[in-house]
């Protein structure tokens, strides 16, 4: 196979151009006319459709987006066994050929990008720019890992000595269970799945029950690209299927993105070796965070305020990378709070389909109730700054909230709320801010607004986070540019979209051959 052109991130839609914006309404209409989708259980040639559960539009909860078949226990088992069969041949296909399948899948997504973005607008209430960015990220993962796998096939160089030939190569591990979230409903399942497939593994995909239609589109893309049916199965469900996959002795690798509670349980469960199991399961976990933005006294507040507002409140804060806390130097704390409060009051809380919406409804009723509980706690324990009085109804809308003066042990400072709530605290020094960050059990993203090079160096050295952003927002990681993943309880350092990610999905085998015959090197 000839060399692929260098990887380039898929350009997002240039929505500042009216000609581009004018295409969106038509795409949404076209998508709406296809709803509701039917999402089947898909295992090789077998498809079962049944309206076991539904996914709905968070902005119009009565509107059904997909009718979904829930995979039964026997089907999950069948999916794993099918995947184990499928990987026999898939693992023997060259990396170049596997790469081509992924690139064809990327092309399939690219051709339908407006349609896919429209689906995310409906199924997950992702505002257009967010939805489009998610589709582009999915394309990016396919393109990036395709190239990575080709490179990885070459193995790693080892020291060679006369009479001895050493090589180190990477082989697929086998069946991969991919358990994916709804907040990046195409990109995250695509990232985990394509990394597994690129390296020769097979996949059983169990998507979040809130975004099954997006997962269906991913599977369609992969199959259209030429990934054999046995190699990627879809087992939708509301939870049981996931834990069954994790426990299944036929699964070699589990790729999970989701909450800390579930992630830790998966690791515990996956540690068990069932009778007859011939391997140690590997878990790749990307979990939550409580991301802090440090603002020093010499920060440019003109940059910091919009950056923090976007990081905390875009997509209603439903990102593991979202800013949850601000640690601001006392010298500028009052000014920052004033401007943050003012800017937050201006956020547009509205339907995802409306351009200009910054805070769409959260994903479901229980999420809205959770946010409301934390906001009520914020009113009790601290001071609310600025704010929006009314939010639309129906739909799971939450007003964005900035809260300060919280006691140090407030759960608002510890718990991942996954909603539009931002806590602001004043610190006496950057050292104190770093102490606070260092004291957290999580370390996913972090931000720093400062202009003294010594401060920047200091925070770089001390911050344990997986993704530190200096003088910009903490969200919007791009494949290849910001390999993404956290440390401590935020994950086991996966770094999706980075040069090391594929290593999680392979097993290394070193081979040494003695090339001496009768004293001669042959």
């Amino acid at each position: 196979m000839t060399n692929l052109p260098p990887f380039v991130n898929e350009p997002v839609l240039e929505l500042r151009r009216s000609a581009v914006r004018s295409r969106l309404a038509g795409a949404l209409q076209a998508l709406d006319s296809q709803l509701p989708f039917t999402v089947p259980v898909m295992i090789a040639g077998h498809q079962r459709t049944d309206p076991d559960f539904v996914s709905t539009d968070p902005g119009h909860p009565d509107s059904v987006v997909a009718q979904v078949a829930a995979a039964r226990e026997a089907e999950v088992d069948e999916a794993v066994r099918t995947a184990a069969r499928g990987v026999q041949s898939w693992s023997r296909v060259s990396a170049a050929e596997r790469a081509q399948a992924l690139l064809r899948a990327a092309a399939w997504l690219r051709e339908r990008r407006l349609d896919l973005a429209a689906l995310e607008v409906r199924e997950c209430a992702k505002p257009w720019p967010e939805a489009d960015a998610d589709v582009c990220e999915a394309i990016d993962f396919l393109e990036y890992y395709a190239r990575g796998a080709v490179e990885l096939e070459g193995g790693r160089p080892l020291i060679q000595i006369p009479g001895e030939r050493n090589d180190l190569r990477y082989f697929p591990r086998g069946v991969t269970a991919v358990i994916s979230p709804w907040n990046f409903p195409l990109a995250i399942p695509c990232g985990m799945t394509s990394a597994a497939l690129a390296t020769g593994n097979s996949v059983v995909l169990k998507p979040a029950e809130q975004s099954p239609a997006c997962a269906l589109r991913l599977v369609q893309a992969l199959r259209a690209g030429g990934v054999p049916e046995a190699v990627v199965s879809l087992v939708p469900g509301e939870g049981g299927a996931g834990s069954q996959l994790v426990r299944h002795p036929g699964v070699q690798t589990i790729a999970f993105t989701g909450s800390q509670a579930v992630g830790v349980e998966i690791m515990r469960s996956a540690a068990e070796v069932a009778p007859g199991q011939l391997h140690i399961k590997r878990v790749i976990a990307e979990l939550g965070g409580k991301n802090c933005v440090i603002v020093d006294s010499d920060a440019d507040l003109d940059d910091a305020v919009p950056g923090i507002v976007a990081s905390a409140f875009n997509y209603a804060g439903q990102k593991c990378s979202a800013a949850a806390r601000v640690l601001v130097h006392e010298a500028v704390a009052d000014r920052l709070l004033e401007r943050l409060g003012g800017a937050t009051s201006l956020l547009v809380v509205g339907q995802a389909a409306d351009l200009g919406t910054e805070v769409p409804p959260v994903i479901e009723r229980s999420a809205q109730e959770l946010v409301q509980r934390y906001v009520a706690l914020g009113h009790q324990q601290g001071t609310i700054v600025g704010g929006i009085a009314d939010v639309p109804t129906p739909g799971w809308f939450c007003a964005p909230t900035v809260v300060t003066d919280l006691p140090a042990d407030s759960s608002l400072l510890r718990d991942e709320i996954f909603g539009p709530v931002l806590a602001v605290e004043s610190v006496r020094s950057i050292e104190e801010a770093c102490d606070i960050v260092d004291g957290l059990p999580v370390a996913l993203t972090g931000g720093l607004y400062a202009r003294d090079p010594a401060t920047i160096r200091y925070v770089r050295e001390r911050s344990p986070v997986g993704n530190l952003y200096i003088n910009r927002g903490t969200t919007g990681a791009k494949v290849g540019r910001q390999p993404f993943g956290g440390n401590r309880l935020s994950g086991n350092g996966t770094k999706a979209g980075g040069p090391d990610y594929l290593l999680h999905f392979v097993e290394p085998r070193a081979v040494t051959e003695n090339t001496v015959r009768h004293g001669l090197v042959v």
């Binding site: 409060g341 200009g356 003294d452 090079p453 010594a454």
Partner: protein, 454 residues
């Protein structure tokens, strides 16, 4: 290019006229050594132009000075930036060594802050309109008009937008009250379309509203309209000119639609005098101009809308944003292409009068001479072309133009150091860029080379 020339002008006639006008202006430009303070600035600029890392360090320093809480803080930042240089110039190395002693640090901080303030004053005429008025009057008496631009923090809240709008209104009234006492200057007060206001204030839509969103321009447009409307009424009442600035591409649609919408209404059909900006570095500026001109011709508003033609001040930003998002660059990437487009747009604008009024804003002797030459060759009068320059960058050209009887207007930023930083950094960037005309002029290129077609 020749297709945009009128039938009675040909290329070689135009080039020869450009040369003779350019020569005339160059001869009228005062030399730098007359003002020793200016020479000092020039030396600093030269230092910064030659060394990219030093330039970056100085810009980052200038940018952070207003946020520093004490002179020691200033010194600490200066030291931090300079310490990152592989090789600081000898004078600066000496300054670095000095910072080990507390008293010396304070002194260095004071010197550095003073240096930045001094540099800032080159570009900023005063902290507020009252402080600036002396300079404005001085300019007027020397035959130079002005447009006041109010610098400020970014507007991210409604309160900040209200404060800015109030400052604009206050500036209009204050300047108007003073300008009435200024002596007559017919060159600055009259053209073929009628009288020209003495009071001229530039406003930024991004400061008038915190709601500008690139993918939803109507939001910001509506919000800004609510504050622009009263300013237009004040302009109408005082007979003042209100110029609407153009900023980054992200807000262009909102700004353009806002202007054309407000001026289409009955209320403002006969005033006040309003201006807008066309940026020649944007590839689609010819299409933009067509949109504006067809509006102007169909609305037939009097006084005519003034179009200020500029190259553009956000080039780096536009390029970086486009590259980061994977979009095609919206700006010309080669200076010559931008300059050529500037000249093409100049000709279209001049041909379009009196549907619009024309101001050509540039420090490039070639661009300015081209405008004057084409105006004359196509039968226009000098009084129907205004040249605009930036305070601190175009001072010499400004004097040469005034001396030769042209109407020149200097864009005068007003505001404190904190507010002025983004502006100052951009001006320094412009001034020390290897491609800037001023840099080329200072580096001793011949007049012939400087006046050659792009």
């Amino acid at each position: 290019m020749s297709e945009s020339l009128t039938p009675n002008t040909n290329q070689s006639e135009l080039e020869s006229a450009i040369r003779s006008i350019g020569q005339r202006l160059a001869e009228a430009m005062p030399s730098g050594t007359r003002n020793p303070v200016k020479a000092l600035d020039a030396r600093a600029m030269e230092l910064a132009s030659g060394d990219r890392e030093l330039r970056a360090a100085l810009f980052r320093f200038v940018d952070v000075v207003p946020a520093c809480r004490s002179l020691e803080d200033v010194a600490r930042h200066l030291r931090g930036f300079l310490a990152e240089l592989p090789e600081a110039p000898p004078s600066l190395s000496a300054a670095l060594r000095v910072t080990d002693i507390r008293a010396a640090r304070t002194a260095l901080g004071a010197a550095a802050a003073a240096g930045v303030r001094h540099m800032a004053h080159r570009f900023i005429v005063g902290e507020d309109p009252a402080a600036a008025i002396r300079v404005l009057r001085g300019l007027w008496e020397r035959g130079v008009a002005s447009s006041v631009d109010l610098l400020g923090e970014a507007t991210v809240t409604q309160d900040e937008a209200d404060v800015y709008a109030a400052r604009c209104a206050e500036a209009l009234r204050h300047i108007h009250a003073q300008a009435g006492t200024w002596p007559a200057r017919p060159v600055l007060e009259q053209d073929s379309s009628g009288s020209l206001p003495r009071t001229n204030v530039s406003v930024k839509i991004s400061a008038l509203t915190p709601l500008l969103r690139p993918d939803a321009p109507a939001l910001g447009e509506r919000d800004a309209a609510a504050r622009l409307l009263p300013l237009l009424r004040t302009g109408q009442e005082l007979g003042a000119h209100i110029h609407v600035d153009m900023e980054s591409l992200d807000s262009r649609e909102a700004v353009l639609e806002l202007i054309l919408e407000l001026l289409s209404g009955q209320e403002f059909l006969h005033g006040p005098s309003v201006g807008m900006v066309l940026q020649a570095y944007l590839r689609d500026s010819p299409e933009q101009l067509e949109t504006i001109l067809s509006w102007a011709r169909s609305t037939r508003r009097r006084p005519p809308l003034q179009i200020r033609l500029v190259k553009g001040a956000y080039w780096d930003h536009e390029l970086v944003e486009a590259r980061q998002q994977g979009w095609p660059a919206p700006v010309f990437e080669r200076k010559a292409d931008c300059d050529r487009n500037f000249e093409g747009l100049t000709r279209v604008l001049l041909d379009a009068r009196p549907a619009v009024r024309v101001a050509v804003a540039s420090h490039n002797l070639r661009s300015v001479s081209h405008a004057i030459a084409y105006n004359r060759l196509s039968g226009g009068q000098d009084q129907d072309l205004e040249i605009q320059v930036l305070r601190g960058l175009g001072d010499e050209l400004q004097d040469a133009l005034a001396a030769n009887g042209f109407r020149v207007r200097t864009y005068c930023p007003v505001g404190d150091l904190v507010a002025g930083m983004a502006y100052l950094v951009r001006r320094l960037l412009e001034n020390t860029s290897n491609e800037s005309f001023l840099h080329e002029q200072a580096s001793g290129r011949s007049l012939d080379e400087l006046l050659a077609a792009p």
